[in-house]
């Protein structure tokens, strides 16, 4: 089976305010179509790891492979391209551009990628919104939709460039159980029907149990 993401001996230190070894020799793989969750106590380094995997943080030791290719630590332009093309990120808080419409928010990463014409991008974006049952919100301002809806918009945005990997940092942490269930179902569908790989940090035991594999973290190391 193809390996989508591989972390090899990743170490990360924070120098300030005191020297702090946050991530210690983290190694793992994620295969194509795999739905993996990360669990662990607050402060054990889950978010820190996710930021490294998302290529936003390049201040680490060890190697990161995305689709078999080593992710460089310099060349910000190229890293931005990798994020844009291959990785979809869903945050705990609903990071949308509040002055843009829902549709515009979803279209933005595709416009940046520039692989399709504008009408095609719009069509794709509407399709993603439909898949997430929020196409009726397309022309609303992002600031005017509810929390659960915002999270679905963020997922639609993460999907717009058909990435190989979705990273989520407690995407359901701020949602009620109904909405959380909803998001889980969406992820599950993406995984089984489209062969997408997912790596989701969660505190929700029920959520984690339903995924293919759980990575348990404790004080910067992977326990299992």
């Amino acid at each position: 089976m193809d390996i989508v993401l591989e972390a090899k001996h990743i170490d990360k230190y924070f120098r300030k305010p005191v020297d702090f070894h946050v991530l210690k020799a983290i190694s793992f793989q994620i295969k194509k179509g795999e739905f993996v969750s990360i669990m662990g106590k607050s402060g054990c380094g889950k978010s820190t790891l996710l930021y490294i995997l998302s290529t936003m943080d390049t201040d680490y030791e060890g190697q990161l492979y995305l689709n078999g290719q080593l992710v460089p630590k310099q060349n910000q332009e190229h890293l931005a391209y990798l994020r844009n093309k291959h990785i979809g990120f869903v945050f705990q808080f609903h990071y949308l551009l509040s002055e843009f419409t829902v549709l515009e928010n979803v279209m933005l990463p595709a416009k940046k990628l520039g692989e399709f014409t504008l009408p095609q991008i719009e069509l794709n974006a509407l399709e993603k919104l439909k898949m997430l049952n929020i196409e009726h919100l397309a022309n609303k301002k992002a600031s005017q939709v509810s929390g659960g809806e915002k999270q679905r918009v963020a997922i639609a945005r993460a999907l717009i460039n058909n990435p190989t990997l979705i990273l989520g940092d407690e995407p359901t942490g701020n949602l009620d159980s109904h909405n959380a269930q909803n998001v889980f179902n969406i992820f599950k569908t993406l995984c089984t029907e489209q062969g997408l790989s997912l790596l989701i940090v969660t505190h929700d035991e029920d959520f984690a149990k339903k995924t293919d594999r759980i990575i348990e973290m404790e004080d910067g190391i992977i326990r299992s």
């Binding site: 930021y51 936003m56 994020r83 933005l108 940046k112």
Partner: protein, 420 residues
Amino acid sequence: MNNWSIILSIAKTHLLTKAKQTFIAALGVTFGIGSYITLVCFMTGLNTMLDNLMLNQTPHIHIYNEIEPSKVQPIALYEEFSQSLNVVRSIRPKLTQKKIHNAFPIIKYLNHHEQVRRALPQVKSQIFYMAGSIDIGGTLIGVNPLEEAEFFNMADYIVAGSADALNQTENGVLLGIGIAEKMALKVGDRVQVSPVNGSVFSLKIVGLYQSGIADLDAVQSFTTLKTVQRVLGEPNNYITDINVKLYDIEKAIPLAQHIEKEFQLKAIDIKTANAQFETGTTIRNLITYAVSITLLIVAGFGIYNILNMLIYEKMNDIAILKATGFSGRDVQLIFISQAMIIGLVGGVLGLLIGWGLTTLIDHVPFNTEALPTISTYPINQDPLYFIIGFLFAMFSTFLAGYFPALKAKHIDPIKIIRGQ
């Protein structure tokens, strides 16, 4: 899809949602550019007017016979004293005639000179204007009226009558306006003049002359060469001054030196004669630019402030853009574009306002005794100033946007995402 069109559309959305601040920032630029253009056009218009006031009437080179002490005293010719130190006290000028010897061949020579536009003869004479029992001292200048009008803008300063009338009237005179007022004379009247040696002539007033310099207008009148020669009882080769106009004023100094050497005459160039005048022009320009640049810098700081504020407000947007695949450079371009859009809108408005204000000023009546040729405030609507103003607007807004944008480029998205 083009990278630029997304960057511009994001910039546009940011600006439109902050329409009020954007508008105020743009107004700063508008104000700066508008006042720069108004100031420069007005100041240079004023400078040109003052320059013309001087330059139009002043010959580039003025040639005459200076009365001065002989540089070589007779004792220097005496061989026996050549080795000794000779001291001559109380040297007095020798009685020389004011007449320029061989004036017409010199004029002919100058008129064939390639740098010379025109050389014109004049006869200057001290005379008295006589009214009843009083005599008023003054100057009567014999000229070639038509050529003076053509090459020295004489017609601009004739407030009644014309150069043509002077040319055609036997014993006509263009009376200085100050004299006319003093003696209560008007066009068509006769005025008695008397040269220093006594005889009295009656001249017909064909017009009034106003140079704009009151002291001159109170003493000086113009007539034809022939008339003044007749008044003085001199032959028609009697010429006291030659006025030269050049094609290029910069050539005045070397040519004046050349003339002095060649003809043993005094030749004063306009630059030497009016050195203090140029200083005035330079200082006025300096003030204009200092004020305009200050205005533009103030406008620049306004933009800088507003962009800085905007970037603080847009931290989230910056983080999201970076997390979803926009590079630092894209983010930088977004904010620089915002600055440039503000500059563009403000700049264009500024050009319009500058154009409107200068046009308005250009139509405001401005009448002054000193400047008979001027009827409205002088404005120099040189397109160059509009271009400079616009380029400066774009340049200063670019600078004002550059540093905040650089900051946005280096914002670490993780810090912001964690901070939530």
